[in-house]
């Protein structure tokens, strides 16, 4: 695999939820990209690139879809880039999801801005994918129609009950696991959500893979910035989100 940094023209740009932008870019790196990998976006005026997950990959046309939320100054700059302008993307980064047998029933659990990386991963599972997507409130809901388009059965949960079920993702997850077999769980979202999902998976003995976050510098594994403690046998080792992850076997994470 090779990684490259290129200025990538923005082909489309849409404000799909409060502070959330959905862009397609022309990015030759798409050819090598896998679901769950991410890119490093160079933001004008900033030293460090911002990590953003790949939401969809169009290998044939060399395009990547990114969905990002304005959180701070770097992502604010990203929301200012218009169609026709370029974003410099270092990509593809990380290992992404190891999807395994897409004939299994899979459950995708996403929280907020953690939902996008699950979309490309859900594609091959088509009809036997369940997506349980949690958001703060109705204005934050994203990608429901996209998951449905690829054949997933979608359950939306909002904390305030303004759309779908009320509360957090774990109750609908347990309900889904109670009602039918599940071969694997893929999750991305805030750390407490991931910990809860991992707990549910562990209790039921279902393999679970989670996409983790850490502050990064190089994005490729060279600078050792993005360490997280990971269980290896009896030991705890520092693994690196950008190189060994961002997706990890949930059983390895020190929650």
């Amino acid at each position: 695999m090779t990684i490259s940094a290129l200025p990538c023209p923005v082909l489309s740009r849409e404000n799909i939820a409060a502070g959330v932008y959905d862009v397609w870019l022309s990015a030759p790196q798409a050819e090598q990209a896998k679901p769950g990998q991410f890119v490093g976006v160079r933001c004008e005026g900033f030293t460090l690139r911002r990590p953003v997950s790949i939401c969809e990959i169009d290998r044939a046309r060399g395009r990547l879809r990114l969905i990002f939320e304005e959180r701070g100054e770097g992502t604010r700059w990203m929301t200012s880039v218009r169609v026709g302008e370029t974003m410099d993307l270092l990509a593809p980064l990380g290992n992404g999801f190891n999807l395994g047998d897409a004939g299994r029933a899979a459950v995708f659990v996403g929280g907020g801005i953690g939902v996008p990386p699950l979309l490309e991963a859900a594609k091959p599972f088509a009809g036997h994918a369940d997506a349980i997507l949690g958001f703060r409130s109705k204005p934050n809901v994203i990608l429901k129609a996209d998951f449905e388009r690829f054949g997933a059965h979608v359950t939306v949960v909002t904390q305030d009950g303004t759309e779908g079920e009320t509360g957090v993702v774990t109750p609908p997850l347990e309900k889904r696991l109670d009602s039918a077999p599940c071969g694997v769980i893929f999750a991305c979202g805030p750390r407490p959500m991931l910990a809860a999902v991992a707990g549910v998976a562990e209790a039921r003995g279902i393999p679970c893979f989670v996409s983790m976050e850490a502050r990064m510098a190089c994005g490729v594994g060279a600078c050792l910035s993005c360490a997280i403690p990971v269980k290896v046998g009896n030991e705890v080792q520092n693994w690196h989100v950008c190189k060994n992850g961002p997706v990890f076997d949930a059983a390895r994470i020190v929650w």
């Binding site: 994005g219 594994g221 997280i228």
Partner: protein, 307 residues
């Protein structure tokens, strides 16, 4: 590769680098990762990640924070230890067609010496003594901030190795030139500077420092003026060659470093912003020499005309 004319080749402490642009320690790991981004033979050399005798796990995350025109880090010398390096990293590195500088650290002069001795017969081209790491509790910067400490470690390592010996200096001192002289007197063949400036950043929401270690090392363009001043002060004070670094992001920055007295440069943080930064600096230097009809890069070294 065409730009790597002989005009760019430099010899520092007996080691010839095909061009004077070297990856700075800790920003380039053991080269493996960036080998996926570009051909490492395009670099003059690689200063490898700071290494210790035994493996170290470093500090917890977060280990980095963005700052205006720069960044803070508190990696804390995470590394797999020298034996792992020799077995699993060096063979790969040897095949990359670039010079290798082993950046070594320890808790006591004996550790440094033992590590230097262990590397003595191995195919690394130069040792870089890291006595300036601000992110570890013992050793590290503690040695780098006094003339006696710096000289002691240098002497211990000098006695333990026949390799060309470069000592990396900390800018967090009152008088960097006198430390440079002490290190020169203790047997160093070259100096590299600057390591990071000690800095901090607080998350006002949580009221906690962003870095797990509270403080960390500042690098990137923000520190360039300080680095340039240090290189100038040191180059005037010693006879051994100086490798300049700290915030270099463009070939113009590199030219300033040469004029201030550097014989080669290292580039760290700029690679994070643009992974091809070192190649662009190298090519920019080559173009500059050509445009200005300068036969060789070494003709720039120390050619500052002070006011």
């Amino acid at each position: 590769m065409d730009k790597q004319s002989s005009a760019l080749a430099v010899t520092v402490a007996g080691v010839t680098f095909r061009n004077p642009v070297i990856a700075a320690s800790g920003t380039f790991g053991f080269g493996r990762e960036y080998a996926k981004v570009f051909d490492l033979s395009g670099l003059g050399g690689i200063a490898l990640k700071g290494m210790t005798l035994k493996s170290r796990s470093g500090n917890p995350s977060p280990r980095v924070a963005e700052t205006p025109s720069g960044m803070l880090n508190c990696i804390g010398l995470q590394n797999p230890g020298v034996e792992y390096f020799l077995k699993n990293e060096l063979p790969f590195l040897q095949k990359q067609g670039t010079r290798l500088i082993s950046n070594i650290a320890g808790d006591a002069p004996e550790d440094y010496a033992a590590l230097a001795a262990r590397l003595d017969g191995e195919p690394v081209d130069m040792l870089e003594l890291n006595i300036s790491c601000p992110n570890v509790k013992t050793g590290g910067m503690a040695f780098g901030v006094t003339c006696e400490g710096a000289a002691e470690v240098t002497r211990a390592v000098r006695a333990a190795t026949k390799k060309p010996l470069c000592v990396k200096l900390s800018p967090n001192v009152t008088d960097i030139a006198s430390i440079a002289q002490a290190v020169e007197d203790a047997g160093a063949d070259a100096l590299s500077l600057i390591n990071t400036l000690l800095g901090m950043r607080i998350d006002i929401r949580t009221r906690r420092p962003i870095l797990s270690n509270n403080v960390g090392g500042l690098s990137g363009p923000a520190v360039f003026p300080v680095a340039l001043r240090c290189v100038w002060q040191v180059a005037k004070a010693v006879r051994i060659p100086v490798i300049g670094m700290g915030g270099i992001a463009t070939w113009e920055d590199a030219v300033q470093m040469f004029l201030a007295g550097a014989s080669a440069v290292q580039v760290g943080t700029a690679t994070f912003t643009d992974p091809y930064a070192m190649l662009a600096i190298r090519d920019g230097l080559a173009d500059y020499l050509e445009t200005e009809h300068i036969a060789h890069i070494s003709e720039l070294t120390g050619q500052i005309r002070p006011n």
